[in-house]
Assembly symmetry: C2
Homo-oligomer: 302 residues x 2
């Protein structure tokens, strides 16, 4: 705990992150952003010319697509729905009175059609499904989005608003499994080029409630999700900076995604937690990127 506060304080003191008064909601300095831009360039060089279709999502998604994804079954506590004022002038006067009195003015807000994106690939599947069956060989996407998770924390590696970069593979089970396997190796190599100490382990997602324990055991037993871990705040509890996910036919069945042969498509994704990776770099190599080891600066294209 003390270490967490201390890293966050150092980040605030150095100006790399700027306090906004809400835990997990920070402004970023130009230097912080430059590190993320440089790291995204490194991802692309490592990935090579894969022909992946590039898509960038805004930070919110279609609520109907979010509802269809099943996210509220597993992680209701983390989601963020976007609500708006839809009242008349009288309602508005009451709202302003509430605000002036310091009482709760948000009760009249109505849910809009938009939910904050919980993970970069959730908006992708229904879009791809609408295009019809996949080409033979399947499909590959290079996506990025700001994501939201409602988990206020003073651990700077657990932000409420952060960016996730992903490659998403859709196709036959053996193809998407091979893709995931390759990236588990590539991920270690990529982080090695940045002189990061890494380990890869099975993930433990925070599924909600008692029923969630079953889902958690299932995820572990079937090796559905691995994480690449780097110590940031704690050596005992290193932080997941990449994840390697096999969704089986979950999204394929949900959205009617078909392979060229008419089978339900399987999907896998590899995700990069961009802010976490930047924090890992600052933690391991110091708060001034100009003083990072020459090999790390070279890998980042400086």
């Amino acid at each position: 705990m003390d270490m967490q506060i201390s890293l966050l304080d150092r980040l605030f003191d150095s100006g790399l992150l700027i306090d906004t008064g809400v835990e997990g909601v920070y402004a970023r300095s130009g230097t912080f952003e430059d590190v993320i831009t440089a790291f995204e360039g490194l991802i692309d060089r490592f990935a090579g010319n894969t022909g992946a279709e590039v898509i960038r999502f805004p930070p919110g998604m279609n609520r109907a697509h979010f509802e269809g994804s099943g996210y509220m079954k597993n992680f209701p506590q983390l989601a963020g729905t976007v609500h708006s004022f839809c009242g008349c002038e009288l309602d508005h006067q009451n709202l302003i009175k509430c605000m002036a009195e310091g009482s709760d003015w948000t009760e009249g807000q109505k849910a809009s059609d938009i939910v904050l994106t919980p993970a970069a690939c959730y908006p992708l599947y229904p879009i791809v499904a609408r295009r019809g069956p996949l080409a033979s060989g399947g499909a590959l996407f290079n996506i990025q989005s700001y994501c939201f998770r409602h988990e206020p924390s003073n651990d700077p590696a657990r932000m409420q608003l952060f960016r996730m970069r992903e490659f998403v593979r859709l196709g036959r089970p053996e193809d998407v499994m091979a893709f995931r396997g390759e990236w588990m190796e590539k991920g270690k190599e990529l982080m090695g080029s940045l002189e990061m100490p890494v380990e890869v382990d099975v993930a433990n997602d925070p599924f909600f409630g008692r029923a969630g324990r079953l889902l958690k055991n299932n995820q572990r037993d079937q090796n559905l999700k691995f994480e690449l871990l780097i110590p940031i705040n704690s050596v005992a509890n290193p932080t997941a900076c990449m994840s390697f996910n096999y969704h089986q036919d979950h999204f394929g069945s949900t959205w009617g995604l078909k392979t060229a042969d008419g089978e339900t498509a399987h999907t896998a994704c590899v995700g990069f937690g961009l802010e976490r990776i930047a924090l890992a770099l600052f933690h391991h190599h110091g708060l001034d990127p100009k003083l990072w080891p020459a090999s790390v600066r070279k890998a980042l294209g400086h």
Copy 2:
């Protein structure tokens, strides 16, 4: 109206924007993003070495800072509050039942500490105020943020989620007015280098309700806001692609911002609607940036 639908359809057909099923919420292609990146580079070259502090904000801000800004008085219909599930396991079971039945599951969502950022500079003022009085000469910031406005529309230039780039000047009234005046000229020159037809006019913001008419007249009569307009969907109603705002002492008084002399600081900002500018370029020069006029490509650093 037909013209609007047609531009949006052409953008969907070309793949530059991707439909998500919600008006004003679109995914962007790699080509679309490259245009925005190139335009941001052009802004920086035009601005020159101003010593502006670079800050990048996440798409949500501290709700208390949003409340303090007065936004809900003027534009309650446009704001987006972020709500989360805070219930127990039984509440969760009811929520899942609601979703399965297709009834409204969002009523139990509770307002979080976060509101979607309505304009890139709203989170800035309380942060700067906390640092104490401005240096002599004032301060200058280079900021960017995804912003939200709840106004579903099939006009692609009226997105619900879009990025705003801003320069914000804080200091004495004469300094911030001079900054705004310089940018009104620079903005025309910048857009001229992209061969965009522009005009600058006083703005008409959509202040809410009957009381809003007074604010609208005040904004016009005092020349508080100008806009740089470019035809995108309509020649008769060109789209505001930049705005030049003088806030007088509104944010200075609200947040206690002081000049080095202990006076209440005045503020001004110049904003670029990045998606709108990209759309203006696609509308005027065609949907394939490789075929744009050589002078435009050169200005964008291609």
